[in-house]
Amino acid sequence: MTETRLETRALSRHFGALTAVQAIDFKLATGARHALIGPNGAGKTTFVNLLTGVLRPTHGHVLLGGCDITDKAQAERVKLGIARTFQINRLFRGLSALENVCIAVAERVGAASSMIYPAGWRTDVIDEAMQILETLKLTDAARRRVSELAYGRQRLIELAIAIGLKPEVLLLDEPAAGVPSAESHIILDALERLPEHIAVLIIEHDMDVVFRFAKRVSVMVGGALFAEGTPREIEANPKVREVYLGQSSQRSGHG
């Protein structure tokens, strides 16, 4: 069996009277390809925010590699190896694609607090960032401002920044959201080329993406985990079909 990389124990978050996330016990193994699905408002993004430290839980714990990181701030968790992408692009819009990735890499290797030498001297940082763009087939876009790129490619930059952090756990919040279906394959291709050891948790509405990419699927409804299993099991589960898949009934209903 593979070891557990990220784990939550009875993780809950209340917003006043609303329970957004309710006593979630969840395990993500090294090298996992795990999808989290659920209807809108199920608390998926809140769950990710609890994992990354943007929000503090009301109850419960988050463990990374067996260590309790519940009290660690977001920046510390990134250093420990948890990276994420956002549902809506959060890029450095005025900067070039290469600069976007360089900022992440420089931060990871600890260069970013140096004041006395030019950033251009860190060719190791620039080279690594170029390499990441290369693996995502973005070399030709490296010099362009990210705000000028097609949306699908902007989503890839979003991914490239996260890869630049060399994470052990990667949380992808709807990586294909807003990408025209004609372009969504470039996102999938990129996801399939992620280094194998990374534990990936993907939140996704597009069932094509989920069924092609994920080895396991968890369904979240009303803040709680509702079901978990292989994609096939989930697809066959009548209760899941009822609360979630049932709405659009077919796998391809979303594209």
């Binding site: 607090s113 251009g120 920044i161």
Partner: protein, 346 residues
Amino acid sequence: MNAAAPVAAPAQITSRVDHPAARALTGRHRVRWWEALPWLAAVALYLAFPDYLGFGTELLIVILFALSLDLALGYAGIITLGHAAFFGGGAYTVGMLAFYGVWTEPITGLVLAAATAAVIGLLSGLVLLRTSGLTLLMLTICTMALMEQADNMARTYTGGFDGLPDLPIAPVFGLFEFNPLYANTQFLYALGVLFLCFAFVRTLIYSPFGQSLTGIRENLLRMHAVGSPVRRRLVICYTISAALAGVAGGLSAQTNAFVNLSALDLDRAATVLIVLILGGHGRLYGAFIGAVVYLTLEHFLAQIYPTAWQLGLGILLVLIALFARNGILGLGETLWRRYDARRAAS
């Protein structure tokens, strides 16, 4: 470079760093030929217009002040309208030390001014930079207003509204007489100080630290998500910016040989903001262009239309706001890019 170097490195790595996008980054900090122009212009002013050296010194001080604001506002995106707090902090440090005969040596005086302003920047920054947007803007104004009032209430020591006149400043390096009668000494001294501060700011903004400040300006939330200690970076930047504003203030007190409450008031903070917006923020040379245009207009329009010169300035600002959001430099860049594209097309 000799021919052996590329052979030693693996071919692929060489090609990656050779990509135009990578080369744009590795070569970004290099000094361009036109960067000598402002300094040549300053020397030309010194040689050709000895009567305008007083004006020139004032100009250099405004440039330094605007440059300090550019670091905070233009690069790190810290919205502030209270930068005179640090200018005044520096000015009063120099002023009070000199007035009471404690310390009159000019260069170390500026170091002390920088230190005082840095302390004010650090302490206020630790509190202020937890906020953003309009809250931050209001709190920066409040800090400045508090200092102004504290200064006014301590009038026994600070001279209140009238300030401290006739500051005795010792000769520079113990050799060059330093008072408003020696405009050439003052001009060269201010030019030297500006050059050193500028070299420092330029190094800083092209450093990895400067790059991370740009990241904070472009997307704060993403900077948190890449593990950047955002608030610490902002506080450091704000402190450095405050220190530079303090140097500008100290320089102003030294060259005018007096300091009063106007060093701390909203008018000064607003003026430097206008100068920076006019020239173009986040552009390093925006401070230079803005200060030259603003002070020249102020100087000559005030001679032509003593009662209505501000109208001319107002119209210019409206035009800038409507047609050149990134200031005069930004407008220049846009026009240059358009020209370049047309040249490439034909």
